[in-house]
Amino acid sequence: MDEISKQPTIERPPVGDVSQYPEQSAEEPIVIANEFADVVIRKVETRNGMRLDIWSPRRGSRILLDAVALDCLTFQEPELISELLERRPAP
């Protein structure tokens, strides 16, 4: 494996602590945290559908995943996450 080729291909722009995405949701956000990281998760409605919003307040980054993206995560190996962390574990 090429040790130095593991670089981020895309970096998500920082979103700070204000979300531009529609956030009207009946449900309370879910916080998933351990001693290494914490994220805030909520379901967001778009005009024509819905996405899962994962927000990292410490990092100030966010990703919005639709059903196809989430479905595809369900059949990945845990090693995929390790690979993603190879690219940019921090900051």
Binding site: N34, E35, F36
Partner: protein, 438 residues
Amino acid sequence: MNTKPESQSLAAWVEETREGIDSGRFPARAFNDQAVYDLEQERLFSKTWCFLAHESEIPHPGDYVTRYIGNNNLIVARDEHGEIYANLNMCRHRGNVMCKAEMGNASHFRCSYHGWTYKNSGELVGVPYMKEGYEGRLKRKDWGLVRVRVDSYEGLVFGCLDPEAPPLDEYLGGFQFYLDLYLKHGLGGVEVHGPPDHWIADTDWKICTENFAGDGYHTPVAHQWGFHLGYFPSSGSTHSQGWAVSIPGKGHGIGLGHGPNFPPFGGFPDDLVAEMKQSLSPEQVEVFSRTRTAVGSVFPNLSFLMQPFSLEPGEIGVRFVTMRLYHPVGPGRMEMYSWCLVPKNASQEYKKEAYRAYTLAFGQAGTFEQDDFENWTKVTQAAGMTMVRDVDFPYIMGMDSAPDPEFPGPGHAVVPYVNDTNFRNLWSRWADYLAGEA
């Protein structure tokens, strides 16, 4: 010769101690001395199999706890594929502590200093500025967390710092027969009831190991309130009855106390007893059914106790199991870890009752625990006095007892329960390690 005079005299002291044990003497100094403590770290805890965690403390992928072997802090984690690993809790970059929480769940550990990130099994995966900073010189596979060997028996996960040490099965050497009395409570085995209580005590770890290797002798005195008020179903006149069993050459020992009127499997719910009769061998059933109290130590510092405790004076009460680990943190000082084990298949009601009995008797506020630590702390203080350096204690009970030929289990079983045989075996194993001859 570069040998320091102090180390020469320590070696001579260990040799004298070994000889003394054979004639039933053991030095008080062993229980509170810096040089002995240092030698234990170097020669004992770096070679023995040491208890890390019960599997039920880390049941799911990503679950971890931090524990110790000697002065080494370890992360014991179940990885994303369900395998259990133990790694030194130290980042390989500049040595920061990886997991600061004592327990948690994480797929990856990320260092709070420069951000190196590891899989929960210990492999290094993420290095910030890998390309810019290391210019291809750093090979991730060379810089994983420092791994420690693990092995398990019936849910007990042990670790060993010595790659050459014999496997756990051989180390336990037949003591599994007795461990089953605590662990095979029904077909589902046991689980921990919550995280361990733990606290620092000015007590030497060895005093606890010895006490739990079968010191039935102290019970009618140190815990006399339990006898007198009827919370503990034994009586002063019969308390010496039972077996003391040791595994020669291994250091493990157990006391199996009998009560003449104590019913077989008393204090357990009937459905659980029916299951236990299936999960245990006929020989184990024979031993177990006659046992009121089982108090045993796995060398060097893990112990178990099963006994009944009654909330209503005069009743049999409920049986509970506690598991304890004595983590040495200095000469005459330790961190006590105390768990309650409950049968996985038992009703919630019984689990609650057993836990209640456990907390009344053991854990830092437990009545028996306080009786014991009051004595153990005083013993430790005394052992540190200057005049005590040359004082021995007698270990001569049962010096000439022949093993009970009727006893159905492995090891060396003698009667009565009130006996020093297990302790002589314990100390001679301890001294073998200190002499570098284990």
